[in-house]
């Protein structure tokens, strides 16, 4: 059986994960299981895990860690007990030496006893708060994946990891920019407040119409492009640091947790 986004919008996370696991959904996940937190993922061999956890600790804005699995164990016990990170994400990317070699929908065939999965906060978690504050989300309105860009903002290196920050962009009317800052600030562990407001060129983005990941969206007259740190940042680090083996989610194709968005609000 296949489903529409509408079918899955108000389903609990555990049911949507089962549908994904059974092959009923292989598309991006914005709008699914509304109210449940979604997470980015990177999987690395144990001997690269210290470097990555340190990289995330030093760069909490793009890489807020929500859960870390035990080596070889695919269950994220803190954010979704009983789930399996090998099957419950709609699409994965396999990386070898910094290059994508496959985009499977199930990673059990390549799973190993030494793999550690890191689940990282996602800005989709504050989009509901923005909508409730009366701020439209353009990529939802236009039915595309959020636009993401590799900025020139450098992350703090850690061990073998270094790279630039990936940012997501939402066009916001001038009059709502302050509200967009304050209402996302309450969610620091899902990227929190924006990292940049305004001119894309100031953070090295030459053409907002050509994102590095996700889809392009319309920026209307009187709107300001606002940029948030993005959990695809580890993928930019993988491109630059070239670990022999890594697995990530495909951008926009997130892990849907049992935690609620509200669990990550500090106020």
């Amino acid at each position: 059986m296949t489903y529409s986004a509408r079918d899955l919008a108000h389903m609990p996370a555990s049911e949507v994960r089962k549908i994904i696991r059974d092959g009923g959904w292989a598309a991006p996940t914005p709008g699914l299981s509304l109210g449940y937190a979604q997470a980015n993922m990177i999987v690395l061999p144990r001997d690269w895990a210290w470097d990555f956890l340190l990289y995330a600790t030093r760069n909490p804005k793009p890489c807020p860690i929500l859960d870390v699995t035990e080596p070889g164990d695919p269950e994220p016990k803190i954010i979704a007990p009983g789930a399996d990170v090998r099957t419950d994400i709609p699409k994965y990317r396999i990386w070898e030496n910094g290059v994508i070699t496959d985009e499977p929908t199930d990673i059990r065939p390549v799973w190993r006893d030494d793999l550690v999965a890191f689940l990282i906060g996602c800005s989709f978690s504050f989009e509901n708060a923005m909508l409730e504050a009366g701020i439209g989300i353009r990529h939802i309105e236009e039915g595309v994946n959020v636009p993401m860009y590799i900025s020139t903002i450098k992350c703090v290196p850690a061990g073998r990891f270094s790279g630039n920050m990936v940012v997501s962009m939402r066009p916001i009317p001038h009059a709502q920019v302050v509200k967009a800052v304050t209402c996302t600030s309450r969610f620091p562990s899902v990227h929190g407040a924006p990292v940049h407001v305004g001119d894309p060129a100031a953070i090295g983005i030459k053409d907002a119409g050509r994102p590095d990941f996700g889809g392009a969206v319309t920026i209307k007259d009187g709107e300001v492009p606002v940029f948030w740190a993005c959990g695809v940042t580890p993928q930019a680090a993988v491109m630059q640091s070239k670990p022999p083996f890594a697995i990530t989610h495909a951008p926009g194709h997130m892990f849907i947790a049992d935690k609620r968005d509200s669990d990550y609000s500090v106020l």
Copy 2:
């Protein structure tokens, strides 16, 4: 030369660290370098560092990591470039197999090439915000170290580390409890909102007048004891998990960073 707390209250962090380094201050640090963030510390051998960083990641409320040094390097490059964690804290504790064996004021004689220092947020950072909101801080008023207790709240284990959460307590008048919650919520990386409001027995504290660390303070009629997660929690984990070697700050004797308290406010 020796100094009074008043002398050091409005001095920049770097100058107070130099005074500490030169032996001019060996007492608790609340009230010194007002506006600068203070940090808890735990130093562990590299082969225990993964377990601890994972423990901190899984328990961000008591163990918010502000900086992690490179093995053997005593400089916390993110929060205080140029500082030396071996000399810049007024008093340390040396731990062997979970037991305190010494309380020196300089750890250079026991420093090793494999040691990693973790600097952890401290609730002193939001005390200024509380004072500005008109909420008195009893331990400052009474000139003692903040009272801290080993609660029955269990931390999430990681590798060889497990233990209960240590909490700090401030008595707050009934009418100001909500304000105390909201104004500290803005500081999630320095422990943020309280973990418990009211009856100490509900989190296993039998006698609020007998703290496990720090000093006792008066709880007046009409006041509620309010408890925050505390960065002494790693010391409870050291007691329980018994690593062969560890160094911590002595409770209340903090590392004073160049970062400002306001750097850790999300709103």
